[in-house]
Amino acid sequence: MQKLAQALILSAVFFAAWSTSGTRPISGSVMLGISALAFIFSILNWGFKENSKLSDIAKNPFLLCGGILVLLGIIQVLNPHTIAYDADGYLHARNVKFIKWLPSGINADAEVYGSAKAVAELLTAYFFASALFFHSKNAKFCKFLIKFFALNIAAMSIFAIAQKILNAQAIYFFFSTDSQFYGPYYYSNATCAAIFLGLCATSASFCIDFGASKSFKKKALSFLWIFPAASQSAAIFVSTSVGAKMSVLIFSALLFLLGMFYFLKNKIGKAKTLAAIFAIIAISAIPAFYAANCRYENLSPTKKASVIGRAELALLAKDVFWEAPIFGGGADSFGYFASRAAGKRTFGNKFANSAHNSILNYACEYGAAGLAAIFTVFFLWAKRLFARRKILQAANMACLAGLFTSTFHSMFDIFLQIPSTMVFYALIMTLSASFLKGGAKDGL
C-alpha cells in the first residue's frame, strides 16, 4: 500500500506539471482524483501499519488544520449568498437568501468563478500535502521525489522555451486556445512560479548528490544539475513574469549567503559569520533599492500599471475583508466583493479575480477563521522543522530558501490559488522539513 501511495504522489506531481495547471474542469478533476487516491492509500497505510502512532495525525501539519479550511469551504459551497452566472461573456451576480451566521460563498457553474471550483482546487493541494507528509521520514522516497520534480520542471521549461520560439499558442501544439499559454500552463506568471519552485528542487537535488559522496567523480557528476537549472532559469528570464525573475535573484542571493555561512562558520565562528552576512545585506540594500527604483522607471506603461494595480488591489482587499471578517465572503468570491466595493479601482476596470496577495486573498475569502487555520498549518510545520533541525541538510535549506522566496512572491501574485502551483508549494514546504539523508523510515 505504501508503494502505491508513493506512486500516486509521483503521478500527482507529473500531472501537476503537465496537465494545464488544473484550473480547467478536466485537468482539475484528474489532479483532484489522483491526489485523493494518494491521500487515501497513505492514510490507510498509516492506519493498518503496526508501528504507526495515533499522534502522527496531530504531527501532520496539513491534515487537521488544513481540514478546517476545507470544511469552511464546503460550508460556503452549501450555503451560498450569491448566485453567479455567465452566458454572455460577462460575469453577473445576484444575491440569494442564506443562513447569515454560517460561512457562505458563491454558487456558480464550473466555468464561472465560484466556491465549488475553488474548494475543489484547495482539496487537490490539501490531499497532496497531507499524503506527502506521511512519507516525509522516508529519505529514499523524498530524494527520488525531489529529483523527479526537478526533472519534470526542467522538461517543462524546455517546452515553454520551444513554445515561445515557435510562437505556438495551441496547447501541446495541438488543442486550439485563445488563452495566453506559456509551456503547459495558461499564464506565464503561473508557469514561472512553478518553474521557480522546480529550480529550488534542482538546487536541492544538487546539494543531495554533492553531499552524498566523497569521491571526486561523483561530486563532479552532481554538477550535471546545472543543465536543468539553466533551462529553468532561461525559461523564467525569457518570460514576462517580473515576479519570478525577482524570485530567482532573491533565491540566488539567499543561496550565496547560505553557502557563505556554511563555508565561514567553521573558519571564523558563527557570530562573526552572521555579522559579516548582515553587513553584506546592509551594504547591498542601498544599491539594490536604487537598482529596483531605476528598473521600475524603465518599465513599460503596462507593467507599471500592473505594479500600481497590485497596490490598489491590496487597499481594496481591506474593504473586501470587512464585508465578512469572520468566515470571509466565500472561496473565489474576491472579484464579486471587489466589484461591489469599488468597481473602478481594479485593473483597467476589469474583473479582478484575486487580491494578488495570498494572505489578503485568503483573508478576504475565508475570513479570520480561515487565516487562523492557515497560520496554524505554518506553525505546526515550523514546529516539525524545529524538531528535526539536527537532521536538516543543505538540500533542506535550499528548499527552505525557495519556500521563503516563493512566499514573498505570493504577496504579489495569485499562484497560491492555482492547483498545480499550490501542489508544488506544498511539496517544497514538506521537503524542507523532510528527511533527505539515509534510507527509508516510517512514521512522522
Binding site: 452566458a87 454572455d88 457553474d109 476596470n349
Partner: protein
C-alpha cells in the same frame, strides 16, 4: 478493528466522498448558465406570443430573477389574448415566481404606447404619478422614455432627460445593460439617433453595445449620424480600445481605409494573433452586410460552412462562431446561426453563442421554437 484502523478508514471514506463530489462537479449539467439563457429566452418567447412554449420552458427553470420577469410577460400576453381572468389564474399558479412590478410596468407601457402621439398634458395627468410610484429605477427609465416618444416635441427632451438621468445614476450591472439595450431599441424603432447613442453611452457591457450598434448600422439615418459625428467614429472598436483612445495613449486613425484596417487588427475576430488576413473576409462580410452587398454575405456563409476554415481558426474559433451567429441571426438566417452554435467546442461556449442569438432573434414563433430545440440539446 482498532481505533487507528477505524480512523484511517473514516478519513479515507471522507476523502473518497469529497473527491467524487468535487471532482465530478464540473461534469454536471451547466444548470445555472443554462437556466439563465432559458429564462431570458422564455421572456423572448412570451414577447413573441409563443405562450405554450414560454410556459413550458419557464416551468423547468429555477433561475428566479429572469423567471419572475418571464412570467410577468407571459401573464401580460394572456391578459391581451384571453382576458383578465386567464391572466389572474396564471399569476396565481406561479406563486412567488412572479414579478408584480414588472407586470404592472409592462401594462402601463402598453397603455402609454396605445395613446395618441403628442398628448403631453394628458400623459402627464394620467401617467406621471403612476410612473413615480414604481420602485424599480430601470422600469421607471423605460416608462419615462416611452413618455418622451409620445410627448409633444417640446416636452420630449425633458422625459428623455429624466430617463437618461436615471440610467446615469445606476450601478453598472446587468439590469442597467438590459435597460440601455431596451431603450436603444425603442430609439432605433423611433429613428432617434441622438437618443439611441445617449442610451448606449450608459451601457456597461461592450458586446451589448456592439450588437446594438451593429443593428443601427442597417439604417441609413444612423449611418449618416455616425459618420457626421466624429465622436462616434470609434464605435467600430471595443469599449476598452475606445477608453484607451480617449486617454490619448493611442490616436484613432483618420482615413476610412485606415479605420477599417485598424478595426481588423483590433476587432474581436482576430484575437491576439494579429493575423488579420485570416479574418479579413468575415469582417468584410460584416461591412458588406451594412452596405447590403449580397456577394460578400455569401462569401461569409461559405466560410462558416467550411470545416477546413474553422479548423484553421485556432483559438479564435469561439469568437468567430459567436460573431458569425450574431451576424446570421440579424440577417434572419436562424438555421445557420443555430448550426454555428452547434459547432462550438463545448457546452458552455454553445450556451454563450445561443445567448447571443437570443439577443438578436426576431420575435417570431418559428425562430423561437427552433431556438428552444437547440437550447434543449445544450443540456
Amino acid at each position: 478493528m482498532g481505533f487507528k484502523k477505524c480512523a484511517s478508514a473514516v478519513f479515507a471514506a471522507i476523502a473518497l466522498a469529497l473527491a467524487a463530489a468535487f471532482g465530478l462537479f464540473p461534469f454536471f449539467e451547466h444548470k445555472i448558465n443554462r437556466d439563465y439563457v432559458a429564462a431570458k429566452a422564455a421572456l423572448s418567447a412570451a414577447d413573441a406570443g409563443c405562450l405554450d412554449l414560454a410556459e413550458k420552458i419557464s416551468s423547468g427553470v429555477k433561475f428566479k430573477p429572469f423567471l419572475s420577469k418571464a412570467n410577468a410577460h407571459i401573464a401580460l400576453q394572456k391578459l391581451h389574448n384571453d382576458g383578465e381572468a386567464a391572466a389572474c389564474a396564471f399569476i396565481k399558479s406561479r406563486g412567488k415566481n412572479f414579478d408584480f412590478e414588472e407586470y404592472a410596468a409592462r401594462r402601463l407601457i402598453c397603455d402609454i404606447s396605445s395613446e395618441p402621439a403628442f398628448a403631453a398634458g394628458l400623459l402627464k395627468i394620467k401617467y406621471e404619478g403612476q410612473i413615480n410610484s414604481f420602485k424599480n429605477p430601470y422600469l421607471k427609465a423605460v416608462l419615462f422614455y416611452i413618455m418622451s416618444l409620445k410627448a409633444k416635441p417640446q416636452d420630449a427632451p425633458d422625459y428623455a432627460k429624466k430617463a437618461f438621468g436615471i440610467l446615469k445614476a445606476q450601478p453598472k450591472t446587468e439590469d442597467l445593460t438590459l435597460t440601455c439595450v431596451e431603450i436603444s431599441k425603442l430609439a432605433l424603432e423611433a429613428e432617434r439617433p441622438k437618443d439611441f447613442f445617449e442610451s448606449l453611452k450608459h451601457c456597461p457591457r461592450a458586446p451589448h453595445y456592439y450588437d446594438a450598434l451593429f443593428q443601427s448600422l442597417k439604417h441609413k439615418s444612423f449611418r449618416d449620424y455616425i459618420w457626421k459625428h466624429n465622436r462616434y467614429d470609434w464605435s467600430f472598436y471595443s469599449l476598452e480600445t475606445r477608453a484607451e483612445m480617449l486617454s490619448n495613449k493611442r490616436k484613432p486613425p483618420l482615413e476610412i481605409g485606415k479605420k477599417l484596417r485598424y478595426a481588423l487588427v483590433n476587432s474581436d475576430f482576430n484575437g491576439r494573433t494579429q493575423n488579420y488576413a485570416l479574418f479579413n473576409l468575415p469582417l468584410l462580410a460584416d461591412i458588406a452586410f451594412i452596405c447590403q452587398k449580397e456577394d460578400l454575405f455569401d462569401a461569409y456563409k461559405n466560410i462558416c460552412n467550411s470545416a477546413e476554415t474553422l479548423k484553421s481558426m485556432q483559438g479564435s474559433k469561439f469568437g468567430y462562431l459567436k460573431n458569425a451567429a450574431i451576424f446570421f441571426t440579424a440577417a434572419n438566417d436562424i438555421d445557420l446561426a443555430l448550426k454555428l452554435a452547434g459547432l462550438a467546442d463545448n457546452k458552455h461556449q454553445k450556451l454563450r453563442i445561443l445567448n447571443s442569438i437570443a439577443l438578436q432573434m426576431p420575435a417570431e414563433k418559428a425562430c423561437v421554437e427552433k431556438f428552444f430545440e437547440a437550447l434543449n440539446s445544450a443540456r
